[in-house]
Symmetry: C2
């Protein structure tokens, strides 16, 4: 097989054959296909696309490049969710123990944040003692004992994707729907879950800015999951404004604990319950039957909170320990009285990132205490001179640039004009 | 400047700004832009194109990456030609001394062959003693003494193009008209010629298989030359069948000498004269005025042959020495009687390559004696059982695969059906 022929085929608008796909992924993983050859192919795929059969095979080939976890033989079905990432998206934190409390097993491999969206592992690492890196055996033990596990993917899972993702990041080939879908799904399929719910974010704070692209990404991923025998469902959810009232690592953990305690912001509670119900349904679990609980009930009765504490302890964390706090705070006041009619997710995410909650490069450390507290959400009343945001940072020098990011991030207007957006925009199965 | 922004701009169909082009070529030459980034950009350019201003600037930036020769101050005007490469295209050999004999100065930087088309330097190196590598001072001295010089481009000329060409070769991004045009023109402009005639080949044996692509390439190159103050003209010439009757290094030198002696195949003579007249005209030289001779006259009166001998000697070669011959020969007989109505350039080129006349990789050596003699050209009569081709190789083991390449390469049919193609298809100025 000749890599130039494969590149030319895609460049000239042809479908890649299964043999071409298998060969090019394998040869790239082994280093026989050079980085500059794969980047030319990635750009050709970016501009020419791949059809369902090609994307499925591409995913399969990346999956085949590494090990595949196997959680068969547990006493309950596995079910997982993946979010395409957003601002204030701490949903994995309340969701995993909630589904565990209801009767599912959640083998969640998560990532770290890069850019304006946070990463689940960064958030959890703000809990004193908590460890993200587990061996496969530890992962299985935690999953068996607590019904959930949230940890970093080992280097052995889909190494082709790891290599390709790093390449796409520096070659302007990230925003390709088939390549994004194959990247996400190769990792999720390697994780060995039996059912999968995808939370595809759409809006300024998300990777997908418009509903059409988000729907195409969701459709592509659901098809890949289905083609691989995993029951897969996607929800398109709004990311035009941040989720919840807290953006930042430890700030979001605290908010997740509120939700797990039966309180917390309505949007975070609502999305947790919606996704948990989908995860149970995809795993064939029906609340009320065979001891399966409804997620809203698990949040109310303390069983989700208990599962959270078990899960944190099983990975070395102390769920009762105080969370890190940033040394400095600055309050931003509302300039007018009225209804908050808009609050932009991207700008809030950028502010949190500038405060130190995120990282610019993979090797950077994050500040656990840094972030933004939102004192009002769209649809709520604000009064001139009252707090609108509180900024948290380890160094006061960060406040000015963060405050700049927030300039123009919100509108305060007439009550009548505000039409709340639905959180769940569409469901694709 | 951020390379990912530059890649994204082209990927999304925008024009690159002059600043982006200058920066990316310079940063790539210095190694700051990585190979995998440039290959992604090259693929984006392949699929999105570049307009006249972009291609001109891209060429300018590659030119600026290295040194530029300066032949001002000679006692006659400089004029050069470039061919996009074909099978049996030995035209540079008779053309350079012919133009020199007529009153022009030809500073010709040539290349080596790769694939099924031969390289001028490989052909000339079959002359005992002849040297392709000259210093800039030697080049000027030979040009002053003989009116012509044919040598290898030094590493200092358009190093960005050298690097980019090697990259395109392995990343499926060769066949891009703007990138081909910029590559050719950056080298020709670095050579410092005052006038330039482009011989753009079209047909099975050429890079450009159809007239529309060839015309687009010609137009693009003429525009670049014009934008840089060089009088540039292009001829579109037929490469559906080989030029002349000999394909192979020493075989083509012998045929060039025939032409210089006032004989030789009509197509080689015709194209030599046509290109020589264009080169003289582009340099402002008019036959009959100020001692300028017409090219057909220079071929007839021995002055072109004398210039050839001077030129060969000035670069260390012995024009009287016997040329290398291959050790083995095999004759392929005509299977039928009739008119040769078609003889495919690509297949003949491939046969010559398999016989050892060309190289598969840059570091390979060529066989000087290997090649194909054509005993009939399209339009000529052949008789069943008489020789159609003679194959020349250093090892008899090469004959079978070469003969396979020739299977189906020709048609023998009815006299009435043959319509000769014009050699010069179009002229673009």
């Amino acid at each position: 097989m000749d890599v130039i022929e494969v590149i030319r085929a895609k460049r000239d608008g042809h479908r890649l054959t299964p043999e071409q796909i298998d060969w090019v992924i394998d040869a790239y993983t082994r280093g026989e296909v050079a980085e500059e050859q794969m980047s030319a192919l990635a750009m050709a795929i970016f501009l020419r696309g791949m059809d369902r059969a090609e994307v499925s095979r591409w995913t399969e080939a990346m999956l085949a490049s590494g090990e595949r976890l196997d959680f068969t033989g547990l006493d309950r079905p596995t079910t997982d969710k993946h979010s395409t990432g957003g601002v204030g998206d701490k949903i994995t934190l309340p969701l995993t123990p909630t589904v565990a409390a209801c009767g599912g097993a959640v083998p969640q491999l998560s990532g770290r944040g890069l850019g304006h969206t946070g990463g689940t592992l960064d958030k959890l690492e703000s809990i004193p003692g908590w460890r993200a890196s587990l061996s496969t055996a530890e992962m299985r033990r935690v999953l068996e004992e607590t019904g959930g596990v949230i940890c970093a993917a080992g280097a052995g899972l889909a190494p082709a994707d790891r290599k390709l993702y790093a390449l796409r990041d520096v070659t302007g080939t990230v925003e390709s729907i088939p390549l994004i879908a194959a990247s996400i799904m190769s990792k999720k399929l390697a994780e060995g879950t039996g059912a999968l719910v995808l939370d595809v974010k759409v809006g300024s704070g998300a990777f997908m800015k418009d509903v059409a692209s988000a729907r195409e990404l969701a459709r592509t991923m659901v098809d890949i999951g289905t083609d691989h025998g995993v029951r897969t469902v996607a929800l398109l959810t709004d990311m035009s404004t941040p989720l919840g009232r807290r953006v930042g690592n430890a700030l979001e953990v605290a908010e997740a604990v509120e939700v797990l305690s039966g309180a917390g912001p309505a949007d975070v509670v609502g999305l947790t319950v919606a996704l948990a119900r989908e995860m149970l349904a995809a795993a064939g679990l029906t609340p009320g039957r065979g001891g399966v609980k409804d997620p809203a009930e698990a949040l109310r009765d303390g069983s989700a909170l208990a599962a959270w504490k078990d899960l944190v302890r099983a990975q070395g964390g102390d769920p009762e320990a105080p969370l890190p706090e940033a040394a400095e705070r600055r309050v931003v006041l509302a300039p007018a009285t009225g209804t908050l009619t808009r609050l932009d997710a991207y700008q809030v995410g950028l502010a949190a990132w500038r405060l130190g909650a995120g990282r610019a490069r993979k090797e950077d450390a994050v500040s656990f205490g840094a972030g933004v507290t939102l004192h009002a959400k769209p649809g709520e009343r604000v009064a001139a001179g009252e707090p609108l945001f509180t900024l948290h940072a380890d160094e006061a020098a960060r406040f000015d640039r963060a405050a700049q990011a927030l300039e123009g991030s919100f509108d305060i207007g007439d009550d009548a004009r505000h039409e709340p957006r639905p959180l769940v925009i569409d469901r694709i199965a």
